[in-house]
Symmetry: C2
Subunit: 251 residues, 2 copies
């Protein structure tokens, strides 16, 4: 049974805490955070601490902290166990210390307030030693996920693509939501369209499901839409995105 | 029982044909298309024609043709019934003729190859006369949808917003898919992230679910990502979108 120490109290750490306590194959033995208040709610279930030099002996130390905290925090960890960070865009080399090193990056967007199953979730796994790769792959499977051996370079690419499919597509919905509010149209009206957009893109592939005035080179409609947008930045973005669609599909 | 004549053979017309023949409250009496071959498959079920001056008498004539074909086709229709077009961005005034006029715009993205339920689907309804508004609202309900009385101006705004939530968000997935192929990462890995992105945005609202380096003003990660993108247009778009997220969320 894998003995785990969890470090951090952000969205991902809280999700890990919930999954670990629900998973019989995983033994969470301690939770560290520099502010003890944030993890105080868990003190009946699990040992908590805000002292980095009082970590218990474990198989695996999971650093679920902000990107910029990974290096300074790792420097303070004294252990012979395996220490991994969980960040998409950070090199394995930013872990500083004499311990064994690895990365355990779940390709998902976590929010504290929202339950999320780890079932079938891809975990990008990296470790310097083969036995640690195996340990992390095994651990991903214990959580119900699917491990992928991915090095730092490829993980950075995955992280960059995740920005397109998550951050940028969410921004499109967000701007649509803003425009709905501005024009007093309930955003709820767009729900069936949005659901179909994503289901269709995933089942047929997004290249085949592109539609709209930009794809059709329907300049009349594009001009009409630009007339309806008053914010100059949003107007420019509409034009840039339409040009991007046109360029991609005329190739 | 509403007697219908359907005109056109695009994605929407084919979906209407399938729904009408499955719906006992709707009586599809004829299908017109200028190319008879496209609708030949239906000839055992329904009268078909390619002669616009041989349309049967009906309560409702549904023009499901390309935007630019609405005006010239409508000019040729001789009837005392109600003639409606189904386009988001076209004014009711582009229907030319002495008949009663209306618009019946389903807020959805249709593809021939994909089954789609009309259940709970919003229909934007417009008509010059009140009884025709009622007829179209009733018709939307018979199909299982939800009618909304929307004038031409508001419909144009809805159509413009649909471009953001459908065309542009699909383009984000499409660019992500391209980048995956370029870097030999299976796009399937992003499926749980994409599903969560849209489910979360719809349940919590897209403003609350924005995350990523742009929102965090994490310039180091943004620069790293830009280094990974070789296409200059895509690089510029990444930067524009990141700036747009920053501007929106610093307000």
């Amino acid at each position: 049974m894998t003995k785990i120490v969890l470090l951090g109290a952000g969205h991902l750490a809280v999700h890990f805490y919930e999954q670990f306590t629900a998973c019989p194959k995983v033994h969470l033995i301690q939770w560290y955070n520099r502010s003890i208040q944030k993890i105080y709610f868990a003190k009946e279930q699990i040992k908590i601490t805000d002292q980095i030099n009082e970590l218990e002996d474990a198989d695996l130390y999971l650093l679920c902290v902000k990107d910029e905290a990974i290096e300074p925090l790792s420097e303070k960890i004294k252990t012979c166990g395996l220490v991994v960070h969980c960040a998409g865009g950070i090199s394995i080399d930013q872990l500083k210390g004499t311990f064994r090193k690895g990365v355990f990056y779940p390709l998902q967007s976590f929010t504290k307030e929202r339950f999320l199953s780890f079932d079938q979730l891809p975990f990008c796994v990296e470790a310097l030693e083969k036995k640690d790769q195996q340990l992390l792959c095994e651990f991903a499977k214990q959580l119900g996920g699917i491990p992928h051996l991915i090095d730092t370079e490829k993980r950075a690419q995955i992280h960059m693509i995740a920005v397109w499919v998550n951050n940028f597509s969410n921004h499109m919905l967000d701007l649509g939501n803003d425009l709905s509010q501005k024009h007093q149209i309930p955003f709820e009206m767009f729900r069936p369209l949005i659901e179909e957009t994503f289901q269709k893109a995933m089942s047929m592939g997004p290249q085949k499901t592109q539609t709209g005035p930009a794809l059709r080179q329907d300049l009349k409609t594009i001009e009409k839409h630009l007339d309806l947008i008053t914010d100059q930045d949003i107007k420019k973005l509409y034009l840039n995105l339409s040009t991007s669609i046109q360029k991609k599909h005329e190739q």
